[in-house]
């Protein structure tokens, strides 16, 4: 299956906890959920919205007061989820439902733990199943369950599908945290793939544009100046010039080099575009525009960093066009 020129592919996992302020209306709504109460808001037209609106859809005014609804309600529409996806409220097959809570005129979307599609119907009476560990989020309702079923169901994936993460999280009034985890299959372009394969062999590969003659490293596949495909492969030397740089003084989680250190734009000899890399092997204060540097290879087919060669600095004119 694997062909030496096929683009490289690899799983890409992205995780981020979105921390959001709730504002005055949703703060009250979430605080009430922690007390196992559900709040709605009465609009100018007299209809009760649950969950509450932040601004009245008719008048754009904030709600005057919030009113308790439910907690039981009636299914208005539903769909069946035979194979739940990561992060959804239940790991076993369940129904998504629009639920009109008693006393409300609008519906709320949530999961219903009905056991089977045959047990679901529009008009079904449901009640919330509350989490044991409220976190100030809509996930404080684990799901809904049929009113005519046994109470105290225990199914549910927790706030984010990870009970341990939910447990260590503290409730901050007025804030809510939503963990987002996405899974991609990332594909490198043919040019990037050739570049990465070259690195594994200790070679630096670029591409030349057939129109303007510029050499791009890493290869881009397309000349960004001319918008035409680039296919001529060019091997470049390990030496280059610092065109510009900055000194990193700020620490961050996962940082591999202790600040202060230099992140620089390095223009390889024969290339027409600089790329960013570390310049180590000298005091950060010694790095300067025009400094000549050479690649220092790491163990796993990649460049660890660039280090000064000790040659005289390159003349400004030799790299000015790449600034």
């Amino acid at each position: 299956m694997s062909h030496p020129t096929a683009p490289l592919r690899a799983p890409l996992e992205i995780e981020f906890d979105y921390t959001r302020s709730l504002g005055p209306v949703l703060s009250q709504f979430m605080a009430a959920l922690a007390e196992r109460r559900i709040l709605g808001a009465r609009g100018a037209d007299g209809r009760v919205h649950a969950p509450p609106f932040e601004y009245d859809p008719m008048t754009a005014s904030p709600p005057r007061e919030l009113t308790e609804v439910g907690p039981e309600g009636t299914v208005v529409s539903w769909s069946w989820m035979p194979e739940p996806l990561a992060g959804q409220p239940l790991a076993e097959p369940f129904a998504w439902a629009l639920i009109r809570l008693d006393g409300a005129d609008t519906a709320m979307l949530h999961a219903v733990d009905a056991g089977s599609a045959a047990a679901m119907r529009t008009g079904l009476r449901v009640r919330p199943r509350w989490t044991a560990r409220p976190a100030g989020s809509i996930r404080d309702i684990t799901c809904f369950e049929p009113c005519d079923g046994p109470a105290g169901g225990t199914g549910g994936t927790g706030g984010d599908g990870d009970a341990a993460a939910a447990e260590k999280r503290e409730i901050t009034p007025g804030m809510t945290i939503t963990p987002v985890r996405l899974h991609y299959m990332h594909t490198a372009s043919p040019g990037e793939s050739a570049y990465l394969r070259g690195l594994a062999e200790g070679r630096l590969l670029g591409q030349r544009c057939g129109v303007c003659g510029h050499v791009y490293v890493p290869p881009r596949g397309t000349c960004p100046a001319d918008g035409v495909p680039t296919s001529e492969e060019v091997e470049l030397p390990e030496s280059g010039t610092v065109t510009t740089f900055c000194i990193v003084n700020v620490g961050y989680p996962g940082q591999r080099v202790t600040p202060p250190y230099v992140a620089a734009a390095v223009l390889l000899d024969g290339a027409d575009i600089a790329f960013q890399h570390l310049v180590l092997g000298c005091d950060a204060s010694e790095v300067r525009m025009g400094m000549r540097v050479r690649a220092v290879w790491g163990e796993s087919g990649s460049i660890s960093h660039f280090a000064p060669t000790g040659e005289p600095d390159a003349a400004y004119e030799t790299y000015a066009r790449c600034l």
């Binding site: 959001r20 529409s77 769909s79 989020s137 939503t178 991609y184 299959m185 596949g221």
Partner: protein
């Protein structure tokens, strides 16, 4: 300032799952730019304004649209913009640029690698971030809630939905860019299992990757670029509430409003962006399309729905029926958000107003 702007060129890539394509869109865009420039005789230096539609959530990285700019050749610097929406909204921005005289010729493009992640799950992130997205309601399940409301209200049957799918697939047999096509009876489709009851696989657009490009020009330039330009006689977009449970999911007021504002009356062809079978039925009604209107002669989004390009492609396909003389008046529609939340209508005419 002239109020006359016309579509003068359109191209799209075939909708396919492309394991070997990056999320930057460059590989899909370079060939269709070459195609549309070849057809119009334009070069990139003729384009006064570029606007793209794409999404970082599809790409799995920030500022992903910047990589796509490689495909347009932006040296020397050019006037360029981006919307985190379907390319149809990029075309709307481009149309405004030409209307205001800031550009004579503008190019809009949209691209999406829908297959890079689990699309229906990624689309949960377009929902209300406080009350909905933390539950990860996927796009298919949300559409299924809308479909059931219509079924139980007697607005349509599962057979009606299957007939939309069967007719779309048959129409797509003459569309080489379609991802799904074929001759299949509605009864046969109805025998297949549910994907998200009440939706079956045929009720849902396939997941596919693709790109589309449309070039528009002012009246002064359109006639020299195209024998029969597709004049934009109306262009409007509207949005409904983001609160899924508070809006009437069977009403689609934003589609009806955009249709009225754009002047949808009297069209002969309509390319509707309906990623779910029942949504075509909702849109036909909201836009007031009668029996005589040819709906989705391309097969529609049910036969190929490259995210962030499919709406723009609907406008391009509608324009193509006018440019080729097959229709005097055609409509292109695009949707965005859950359960037809946001809708755009572009009406194209063979006659300048």
């Amino acid at each position: 300032m002239s109020s006359e702007v016309a579509v003068v060129g359109f191209a799209q890539s075939p909708c396919r799952v492309r394991e070997d394509a990056t999320t930057s869109g460059v590989e899909m865009l370079v060939p269709i730019f070459a195609e549309v420039f070849g057809a119009t005789g334009l070069t990139r230096s003729d384009i006064g304004f570029w606007c793209s539609g794409s999404s970082d959530y599809l790409a799995g990285r920030a500022f992903s649209f910047v990589s796509a700019v490689d495909a347009i050749g932006a040296v020397p610097p050019t006037m360029e913009s981006h919307v985190e929406m379907d390319g149809a909204w990029a075309l709307y921005e481009a149309w405004a640029k030409v209307l205001t005289g800031e550009a004579e010729i503008a190019l809009a493009y949209g691209f999406g690698k829908s297959s890079g992640a689990e699309l229906r799950r990624v689309l949960a992130l377009q929902l209300d971030p406080y009350l909905l997205a933390p539950l990860w309601p996927d796009s298919v399940s949300v559409a299924a809630l809308q479909a059931r409301l219509g079924l139980e209200a007697g607005r349509w049957t599962e057979k009606d939905m299957a007939e939309v799918a069967a007719r779309s697939r048959a129409a797509a047999m003459s569309n080489p860019d379609a991802q799904v096509s074929g001759s299949v009876a509605a009864a046969e489709l109805l025998a297949r299992p549910y994907l998200a009851e009440p939706l079956r696989a045929h009720d849902c657009a396939p997941v596919g990757d693709g790109a589309a490009v449309v070039i528009i020009a002012s009246a002064a330039r359109a006639r020299e670029l195209c024998e029969r330009p597709a004049w934009i006689s109306g262009f409007a977009h509207q949005v409904d509430s983001g609160s899924l449970g508070a809006r009437d999911l069977l009403a689609v007021p934003s589609a009806a409003g955009a249709g009225r504002a754009a002047g949808a009356d009297g069209v002969e062809v309509a390319e509707l962006h309906a990623p779910f079978s029942h949504q075509e039925l909702l849109l036909r009604e909201a836009l007031g399309l009668g029996e005589g209107v040819a709906v989705n002669p391309s097969g529609g989004a049910l036969c190929g729905n490259p995210m962030f390009a499919a709406g723009l492609a609907r406008i391009g396909l509608a324009a193509r029926t006018v440019m080729s003389g097959r229709a005097g008046r055609a409509l292109g529609h695009a949707t965005s958000g859950p359960a037809l939340q946001q809708n755009l209508v572009c009406v194209l005419s063979g006659e300048a107003s």
